[in-house]
């Protein structure tokens, strides 16, 4: 597979390490009264879609960026690659 890195251009996926669903960015609030349930779902429960999947890849043998890759799990076609940090900031994660 080839991941078109937003900063570096196309690079072999072998340079990357895969983590999983990009929902892992949305770590729940540990102070929430339902924190136990929220963390359970956050860490374990997956949509596991057959189709577009937003997922986290780490450019371990590269620029050490975490990327959010939108890839079709039926065809492996990649339609979007973003820096995970930008995604996280856009989703309201900060400090």
């Amino acid at each position: 597979m080839i991941i078109d890195h937003p900063l570096l251009g196309p690079r072999d996926a072998a340079e990357f390490v895969y983590l999983g669903d990009a929902c892992l960015i949305d770590r729940p609030d540990p102070g929430d009264e339902n924190a136990a349930r929220l963390f359970h779902d956050y860490l374990h429960i997956r949509d596991n879609p057959a189709g577009e999947h937003r997922e986290l890849w780490f450019h371990e043998h590269g620029d050490r960026s975490w990327l959010v890759v939108t890839r079709n799990t039926l065809t492996h076609e990649i339609v979007r690659v973003e820096l995970a940090r930008d995604v996280a900031l856009a989703r309201g994660r900060d400090r």
């Binding site: 895969y18 999983g20 359970h40 429960i45 057959a50 890839r71 065809t75």
Partner: protein
Amino acid sequence: MRYSVLQILKEGLTGNRGWKPVWREPDPKQHYDIVIVGGGGHGMATAYYLASVHGLTDIAVLEKGWIGCGNVGRNTTIIRSNYLLPGNEPFYELSMKLWEGLEQDINYNAMVSQRGLINLFHTDPQRDAAVRRGNAMLLAGAGAVLLDREALRRKCPFLDFDNERFPIKGGLWQPRGGTVRHDAVVWGYARGADRRGVDVIQNCEVTGFDIRNGVCRGVETTRGAIGANKVAVCVAGSSGQVMGLAGLRLPIESHVLQACVTEGLKPAIPGVITFGAGHFYVSQSDKGGLVFGGDIDGYNTYAQRGNLPTVEDVCEGGMALMPMIGRARVLRMWGGVVDMSMDGSPFIDRTPVEGLFFSGGWCYGGFKAVPAGGYCLAHLMATGAPHRVAEAMRLDRFMTGAVIDEKGMGAQANLH
């Protein structure tokens, strides 16, 4: 028709014209007592044991394609009961015992070949873990033998003992481990279930569930609605998709596991051998092909294919372990979509929808579990209580913390 030497002689002398279909091809009825979604190993075994052990025969097995077209037809055929944790080991040992009597039970030769399985270790910590595991196997009655380097050299002189990057220190041997002719398992169960009255229905895809007031009353299919008192879903890599039709989300990701087979070769490798310093395991089929595999590709996918780096990684392991296989040529590579659970262990459980049962999360180890998986799901559906050896395989274990994490990798599906 009972299969026997006599039958073969008789048919051989009359042009093999008298053989009957191994299973009927009935049209689906409007209602069954039990509908099983998925005509793979687990679905078919569940139907067989419901019929043969519990006397329930008003059963349909619904298969989207042709029976056995999923992972039971695309694995590396290994059977073993060499697990560590008490939530797992007794279950796999039950499966091994069922394998051992399977062929006579179903009157079908699935070529259960207990030629032994060796897990190699290369460091002291790996040895310690192997001893702990071996003793767990002995406690469960599975049998285990610790081989030192010299004993290994006698059994497998072709391993690289002289130029290895990670010296082999020994191996944990399960003499009862081995291989089974994978396709024949599903055919044999199908035949056994069919003879007891189970309807095996191919080319029948489930497109929805009939759920009313939290109770499952049947399924919708490409061949019409089929009512049922109980429905079980045994669809491996498609678990997320099919259970999604029932509104359920699972602690499961779908990944691809690739495997390879070489051209046929005269006997070269005894039993199953697993590398401990890389991703590689191998056995040799009765036809002579070296059947081998390694790790999953590691990204979510429903495509039954993978990519080169994984195959290269597997072959690197193979060459590091047994450089005599270098000139053997890989004939075919294929990929199976496996339902990786968040702790690497499976589920055999009810679901929050009454009457809907689930067997899944088999990861890349579902084949060996086919007999016990079917047996325990049948037990749960017929008696209402989980089988003793499958009690830990619950869907809510991540909520309670009673995880069954053999490899200690935590809640990341692709690490198991």
